[in-house]
Structures are given as structure tokens and as C-alpha cells.
């Protein structure tokens, strides 16, 4: 396939008195893990619904694998897999029965079905418990089974709405590994939402940040951090940085905190004091300054500034 896996153009989706998606435009290229981030109620789940043809756009259009889900929903759904807001497992059936039902839906031939189910249940550590009724399982186990179900038929595009919610750290790490492998080895496009920023930063080649239905950031996690700084200043010096100096620096009007950070001097400033002021002060104390630069924002800080303009970071 050429062209983006997902194209969203000027998409608006209204519910009675809420605008869940507000003129969203973006393209997601194929074969990557894409993270869609945003606070509760920002519109993430709604976008997944629109992309699967389960909700219609109020205006604008979307294209999934080159098709319009509002008109060719069956074709879109035939080549996607999904874990939605609810895990959607049949709790009265066993894990194996759940996967078998979906394998039948996807019309997998019997032998492929059995090997694939065995492969996935083993990989997700559920094989031993395959005959148990899912209703008795823990939340994380259900979640793992639901992810297995989403990728069962090897779709080229998977939607995962908060796939690591409820997973323990080991299980989330192994799921992340699995998702990264799907994208890199099998060329699968993974569209996921998450509230775990560290996860998004590590896993996603591209992220979109949405706030009250509006796309406020889009790019690689690095690019989103770039151009934003945390408000702290890093000073590299070849001589003169002593413990006494750091203590004295902490007392200077307008300095919130002074510490060593990885061989550098890290200074958090309040409003009012400028970088030239600090440089002059340091030079006067006999510090040999090699380099002065603003500290780059962490991904979390960048995210916060995208969803809450009042937060600390500056452009």
C-alpha cells in the first residue's frame, strides 16, 4: 500500500452538546506504532470509533487503508483488528472459545486457527489457563487476551485503546516489545492510545496529542520535546564549580534550585532573572564557563504544555 494508513482531514464529531473532535487533520504512515495521547475525555476513543465506522463524522472525512469507513465500513473492518474501550470478551466462554469464535469470524482455516491460537496464548502467558471461563480472570489477563484477539487474524492495522491499562510492569514491557516487533517485522500499523507517557515515548515512532478534541501536537516524541525547554539552564564549566558556589548560587534572588546534573551545573530559575544575569554572576565568582544552554523539556513536560497551556514549559 502506498500513502498513509490513516488519513484524517478536518474531522469534526459532535455529540449532543459536546464537540468530541474539533477539526482534526493528520496522516499516519503505515508500518509504525502511532500513539494518540490526551487527557480523559479528549476524544481518543471517539476517533477510533470514527476510523472503524462505528461512529459517523459530523463533518470532514477519514480514510483508513485507502477506504472511507463511513461508506466502506465492511472493507475497513475486514482488514483491521481492535481492542476498544471495553475488552469485549465473552466472560461466559473460555479463553480458547473466545479466540475460536473470532477466528471463525475472520474465517481462518482450521489448522491455521489452532496453531495461531496456541502461538498467541503461549506468547501472552495464557496457554495453561485456556479452558478457564474468562469471567473469573484478573483484569490484566483479560486485557492480554483481548490484545491477542485483536491481532489474531494478522490484520495490517490494529487499533488498541489503552492496551496496557491494568497490566503489570512486566506484562506491559512484553506487550510493548510485541507491538514494536509487529510494526518492525511484520509491517503492521499500530494505532494506540495510552495515558502512560514513558510508554508512548519509548514505543511510538509518532504521536498525536489531543486536547478537548483539538490536535495540539503531532510528531515524533523527540520533535515534541524539541523547541520546548523546561525552564532550567545547564551550564558546562571547566573550573570553579564548588559546593560553596552552588550553595551561594541557591541564595541568589530569582534562583529556585541549583544542583549538579551529569557534570553540568543545573539552575532552575524563577521569572525575573535572565540567563545573562546568571552568566555575569558566575563569571564574577571565577567560574570558567564553556557552554550555557536551556534544558530540553522531558516528554512529559512537553505533553503537559500541549494539553495544558498554563503549565510551566516555554516554547
Amino acid at each position: 500500500m502506498t500513502g498513509p494508513a490513516i488519513r484524517v482531514h478536518d474531522l469534526v464529531r459532535d455529540f449532543r452538546n459536546v464537540r468530541a473532535l474539533d477539526h482534526v487533520t493528520m496522516d499516519v504512515p503505515p508500518g509504525i506504532v502511532f500513539g494518540f495521547l490526551g487527557p480523559n475525555g479528549a476524544g481518543k476513543t471517539t476517533l477510533i470509533r470514527v476510523l472503524l465506522g462505528l461512529a459517523k463524522p459530523t463533518s470532514g472525512y477519514v480514510e483508513v487503508l485507502g477506504r472511507n469507513p463511513a461508506r466502506e465500513g465492511d472493507a475497513v473492518r475486514a482488514s483491521t483488528g481492535a481492542l476498544l474501550e471495553h475488552h469485549g470478551l465473552y466472560e461466559r466462554l473460555s479463553a480458547r472459545q473466545n479466540l475460536e469464535f473470532f477466528a471463525r469470524i475472520w474465517r481462518m482455516p482450521r489448522h491455521t486457527r489452532d496453531t495461531r491460537i496456541h502461538e498467541l496464548l503461549s506468547r501472552f502467558g495464557l496457554w495453561e489457563r485456556r479452558e478457564e471461563v474468562v469471567g473469573t480472570w484478573s483484569r490484566g489477563m483479560k486485557q492480554r487476551l483481548a490484545v491477542a484477539r485483536a491481532v489474531l487474524h494478522r490484520p495490517p492495522l490494529v487499533f488498541l485503546d489503552e492496551p496496557t491499562a491494568g497490566l503489570d510492569p512486566v506484562a506491559s514491557a512484553s506487550l510493548r516489545e510485541e507491538l514494536a516487533r509487529l510494526a518492525s517485522d511484520e509491517g503492521v500499523t499500530v494505532f494506540l492510545t495510552t495515558h502512560n507517557l514513558a510508554e508512548a515515548e519509548r514505543l511510538c515512532a509518532l504521536v498525536g496529542v489531543v486536547r478537548r478534541g483539538m490536535l495540539t501536537g503531532f510528531g515524533t516524541p523527540d520533535a515534541l520535546r524539541m523547541g520546548r525547554h523546561s525552564g532550567a539552564i545547564l551550564v558546562t564549566a571547566s573550573a570553579g564549580v564548588t559546593d560553596a558556589l552552588i550553595e551561594a548560587l541557591g541564595m541568589v534572588e530569582g534562583v529556585a534550585l541549583a544542583t549538579r546534573a551529569g557534570g553540568d551545573l543545573r539552575i532552575e530559575v524563577r521569572n525575573g532573572v535572565t540567563t545573562p544575569d546568571l552568566v555575569r554572576w558566575l563569571a564574577a565568582q571565577g567560574v570558567d564557563i564553556e557552554e550555557v544552554r536551556p534544558e530540553r523539556a522531558t516528554f512529559e513536560e512537553a505533553f503537559l504544555s500541549l494539553v495544558d497551556p498554563a503549565s510551566g514549559t516555554t516554547q
Partner: protein, 244 residues
């Protein structure tokens, strides 16, 4: 389409079977019904059990009530248990999802009635030996037709009612009222007819015989079922369905 319908019906069956195995939610009460209708009633009615006209009332009623509980559980239940949206996110068509559920419920009601009939036959034969009457083929097929058609009608009605219900409970309550009205309506109507017309109707029905009435009723139920299912499928569209 047929294969997908069957896939959905198969899943419903697995869920029903599971309930049975665990005797959850009415598992026991079903055994009670089997005992009552398959053993107790035949023994009460005696060797002529198979040919009592009342068979044409309570068997369709039984089949329909079995069908109705299954249909509301499987349609409204998918929404209540939050599995509907995931099901809708697959390649299955709207129609195959609904028809699969209808098929599962109808087959269930049918299988239940038939196995009870068989148990009844055996009971009567074991108890009365050669004195036990058997049912004529004509009567048997008329009864089968009536069972099937009434189950389909009820399933169609059940789907339509359950489609908008948020919970199984809500669906079953509404459905119970509608069913009551639907079964009372024909009797109520004959009461308000002028005496002359009533006599003519009685003459016509006695001409038809119980089998004839059963066939006509079956045809009417089947036609209504087709209408109800068409309406249900029309109303059940992705993008329009409230996912709760």
C-alpha cells in the same frame, strides 16, 4: 452471509450451553419445566395425551417463551456486557449478527420443545404401553410448523425490543408486556365481534380443524416475523447504534 450467521449462532449456543452446564440463571428451572411438561402433564392427561388440542396452545407458548429469553439475553446482553462494540468492529455484517442471534434462539426453543415432546411420548408409552395414542403425521407436521413459525415471530419481536434496551432486564420487561398483549389480542378481538360474525368464524374454524388453524396461524406468524426482522435489520446499523 450464511456462514457468518452460523458463526454467530454457534457462539450463542456455546454461551447457552455454558449456562446449562453450570446450572446458572435458570438452569435448574429448565429441568423443572422438563419434568413438568415431559413427564407430569402427559401422565395427568393419560394415554390420549398426544391428541389433546391443548397441545397446540402450550407447546408454541413454551417454545416462544424459551426463544424470547434467549433472544433478549443475546441482543440486549451484548450491550449490557460491553461486547457489542467489539463484535461490531469485526467484518461481520449487521444482518448476519442479528440473524445469527435469531437463529440460535429459534433453534434453542425448537430443540427444547421437540425434546420435551419426545420425552412426553416416551413417558406415555412406558406408562400405558399399547393404550398410548400416537400423533398422526398430519397433526405432527402442523404442530412443528406452528412451533417454528411462532418461535420466529417471537424472535423477531424480541430483537426489535432488545435493540434499544440498555439492559437485559429492561428488554425482558418490555418484551413480556408486548407478548402478553400480542397473545391476548386475538381472543379480545373475537369477544368484541358481533354474535353473528362470531358464529361464522367458529363455523369456519371448525371446518378447518385444529391442523388447518395451525397452518394458517403459522403462515401469519412467519409473515410477521419476516416483517419484524426486516425492520430490525434496518434499525440496526453501525454508526447509528447507541453503544451505551
Amino acid at each position: 452471509m450464511i456462514r457468518d450467521t452460523w458463526t454467530v449462532a454457534h457462539k450463542e449456543w456455546m454461551e447457552i450451553l455454558d449456562q446449562f452446564m453450570r446450572f446458572r440463571r435458570g438452569g435448574w428451572s429448565i429441568l423443572l419445566v422438563v419434568f413438568f411438561l415431559g413427564i407430569f402433564v402427559p401422565l395427568q392427561l393419560g394415554p390420549g395425551w398426544a391428541n389433546f388440542a391443548v397441545m397446540f396452545f402450550y407447546w408454541p407458548f413454551l417454545t416462544s417463551s424459551m426463544t424470547s429469553t434467549i433472544v433478549s439475553d443475546s441482543v440486549a446482553g451484548e450491550r449490557e456486557r460491553h461486547t457489542l462494540e467489539t463484535l461490531l468492529s469485526t467484518r461481520l455484517s449487521d444482518a448476519s449478527i442479528l440473524l445469527g442471534k435469531v437463529l440460535a434462539a429459534v433453534l434453542y426453543g425448537y430443540a427444547f420443545a421437540l425434546s420435551n415432546l419426545a420425552i412426553g411420548m416416551i413417558t406415555v408409552h412406558v406408562r400405558y404401553g399399547d393404550r398410548a395414542e400416537s400423533m398422526s403425521a398430519e397433526r405432527f407436521f402442523a404442530l412443528l410448523a406452528l412451533l417454528g413459525a411462532s418461535a420466529f415471530f417471537v424472535a423477531g419481536l424480541g430483537v426489535l425490543v432488545s435493540l434499544r434496551a440498555a439492559t437485559v432486564r429492561q428488554a425482558q420487561q418490555l418484551f413480556g408486556v408486548i407478548l402478553l398483549v400480542a397473545t391476548m389480542l386475538p381472543f379480545g378481538l373475537t369477544q368484541v365481534l358481533p354474535t353473528e360474525m362470531r358464529e361464522r368464524l367458529a363455523a369456519a374454524t371448525s371446518d378447518l380443524g385444529i391442523e388447518g388453524i395451525a397452518w394458517w396461524t403459522s403462515a401469519a406468524c412467519a409473515a410477521l416475523a419476516v416483517v419484524l426482522l426486516t425492520v430490525a435489520i434496518r434499525r440496526f446499523r453501525r454508526g447509528d447504534v447507541d453503544l451505551g
